[in-house]
């Protein structure tokens, strides 16, 4: 396949995200600017300008009406996707590392870093929407809930909403994963999933399980209710990001050892790779080369037909899968499908 290379960012990428229909890709980087692109051909719709510090995170609501960004300039901004204008700004005492709309679109969570004497927290902001047009009409200024970093845990780096926004799942700098009641903020559960900081948490399409990626070179799939470790994927380099592919039963991992961190790595140009593993069998099934630096973020189209990766090299690459990707099946999968087919005929 021929990836589409987007060269609009001057600094490393921090996050890439698809909207619900998968026709738009939102990218943000340390260069203070976020961009919106059409995924089918890489044409840029526009840029979101206004932040004065690195943008760490971006998310878009399910109506592709508004998108939200969290930045190192201590603010969370909400933008109109159609015209790129800022519709609201929330100020925070510290840099904001992650933002995400709730599945219903009425809440935004923001992960505040634990720096500068601030213990770190997850803030939840509320927005009010018009019942018919779904447009946001009001922004509630004060966060409706502030979840402070739990005792015995280091600050959270990433967080997300589970099914129907019931729980908030957070990944921490010490490799722990914790769960909170989204309505009351009550701490429910915590588990030591990794040995080093967690770089990314992404949910399955129905949000009932999620994958965590860590610098300790492993990625795990955990169940939301029980926090049981369902699957483990081992890589040979520290991981920054992981994603679960809809449609096919795969997961994609991204990471890479920065050249400056290693003394005996051979010069690998264009060789930082996205790794594909089979979700159930935990085996590595392929890699995609192309980035010139570690992959910082990966997102998969909700339709499962393409994926996008953003790297430390400042490039974003959109890959549309070819037929061979969709045809790939393990022997047992083929056998199971054949069996089901026979049963349907009978």
């Amino acid at each position: 396949m021929r990836p589409i290379m987007l060269v609009g960012h001057e600094r490393p990428l921090t996050q890439v995200k698809y909207n619900r229909e998968g026709d738009l890709v939102f990218t943000c980087s340390k260069d203070n600017v976020a961009s919106v692109w059409f995924s089918i051909n890489g044409e840029r719709l526009g840029t979101l300008e206004g932040h004065t510090g690195a943008i760490w995170s971006i998310d878009v609501d399910q109506y592709t009406d508004c998108c939200v960004t969290g930045s190192a300039d201590y603010s969370v901004k909400v933008w109109n996707v159609s015209n790129g204008k800022v519709v609201h700004t929330w100020n925070a005492p510290v840099p904001v590392k992650r933002v995400e709309f709730s599945p219903c679109g009425n809440y935004i969570l923001a992960v505040l870093d634990d720096v500068m004497r601030y213990p770190g927290s997850i803030n939840i902001y509320e927005v009010k929407r018009d019942a018919n047009t779904h447009e946001i009409v009001e922004f509630v200024e004060e966060p409706i809930l502030i979840i402070d970093t739990q005792e015995g845990h280091k600050g959270a780096t990433v967080a997300g909403w589970s099914t129907e926004g019931r729980y908030i799942i957070a990944g921490h700098k010490d490799g722990k994963v914790s769960k909170y009641n989204a309505k009351t903020g009550e701490f429910l559960k915590s588990v030591e999933a990794h040995k080093q900081t967690i770089g990314d948490i992404q949910f399955s399409p129905d949000r009932s399980y999620f994958i965590t990626a860590s610098r300790d070179s492993t990625a795990h799939i955990l169940d939301v209710e029980t926090f049981e470790q369902l699957k483990t994927y081992e890589a040979d380099c520290p991981l920054n990001t992981a994603s679960i592919t809809p449609l096919k039963q795969f997961v994609v991992l991204g990471g890479g050892q920065d050249a400056k961190d290693v003394t005996t790595t051979s010069a690998r140009e264009g060789k930082f790779e996205a790794r594909f593993y089979h979700k159930v069998f935990e085996e590595e099934i392929g890699r995609v080369k192309g980035h010139f630096g570690p992959l910082n973020t990966i997102a998969v189209d909700p339709q499962g037909t393409s994926y996008t990766s953003g790297g430390e090299d400042g490039f974003v690459r959109i890959h549309h899968f070819e037929k061979s990707y969709f045809d790939f099946k393990y022997d047992v999968e083929k056998a199971a499908e054949a069996k089901q087919h026979m049963q349907e005929i009978a």
Binding site: T47, T64, S324
Partner: protein
């Protein structure tokens, strides 16, 4: 630079040919373009189609429709070959491309490393020739000279000297006959380059080569005058299989702050 559009002719297979003339820097160019127009219809949800109509903003304000060259580029072709033995397949591909490019001589018909001149599978031919002439080495020498002169006029690169052992029509050096009549050791010897200066024979034996069993010989190539290592070593192992294993495991591995380069000491042992 001025452009004059010439004719537009419709071809029988549905394409159209556009001929135009262009003058640039005093030179006149005739530009012939064969164009096939294909209409691609894609069905998308209404909201997706609506979004396509949105006006561009920010950096893209006042941009024309369509991707901007400055920000959007088509990357090089990358292959996602999904398979359970993905790693093995990758390594095989790498080996293939390495041996192909290193040889310099590749047959156009079969892709192996010999001169093309009426292939097929020249090695088979030279194998047979080698077996027949295996007992009489001096005779083979004469045959080579004669054969070389007669059949390889096309294969010899003009003006470049090719040693008799590498000319077309000679015995394939890696064939079985060759192995019997030459030293067995050469088959089991590997060449290690990119070696740290401070690595001497003992260090190699104890710290790098210990998993490979009893090692008959380790030689570090040294500068004649100063006695310093030249970063090159030849290691003879107990068998060809062990040597192959050693190459596989050691090539590209870090040792004393350098990345080792490990290969066969003789070129193209396996064909």
């Amino acid at each position: 630079m001025s452009t004059n559009t010439g004719e537009v002719t419709k071809n029988s297979d549905g394409t159209k040919t556009v001929i135009s003339y262009r003058t640039e820097n005093g030179q006149k160019f005739k530009v012939t373009q064969k164009i096939r127009e294909v209409k691609v219809t894609e069905q998308v949800p209404k909201v997706v189609a609506d979004r396509k109509k949105w006006a561009k903003y920010g950096e893209e304000k006042n941009s024309p429709p369509g991707p901007n060259q400055a920000t959007t580029q088509l990357g090089e072709e990358v292959y996602l070959r999904l398979s359970r033995n993905w790693k093995l397949l990758e390594e095989e591909e790498l080996e293939k491309s390495k041996t192909k490019s290193e040889g310099g001589i590749t047959c156009r018909t079969c892709g192996n490393a010999h001169y093309t001149m009426s292939c097929p599978f020249k090695s088979i031919m030279s194998d047979l020739a080698a077996l027949e002439a295996g007992n009489a080495v001096p005779e083979a020498g004469e045959e080579e000279a004669g054969a070389a002169a007669a059949s390889t006029d096309g294969g010899i690169i003009a003006g470049k000297y090719v040693p008799p052992s590498r000319r077309a029509g000679t015995k394939d050096p890696s064939s079985n006959a060759y192995r019997d009549s030459r030293e067995h050791d050469d088959m089991c010897t590997i060449k290690i380059t990119q070696l740290n200066e401070n690595a001497d024979e003992n260090v190699l034996r104890e710290e790098l080569l210990f998993p490979f069993g009893n090692i008959p010989r380790v030689v570090v190539v040294r500068n004649r005058e100063t006695g310093r290592s030249r970063g090159l070593a030849f290691v003879t192992l107990s068998s060809e299989e062990v040597a192959e294993q050693a190459i596989r495991l050691l090539n590209g591995r870090g040792f004393m702050n350098l990345i080792l380069n490990v290969e066969w000491s003789k070129p193209r042992v396996v064909e």
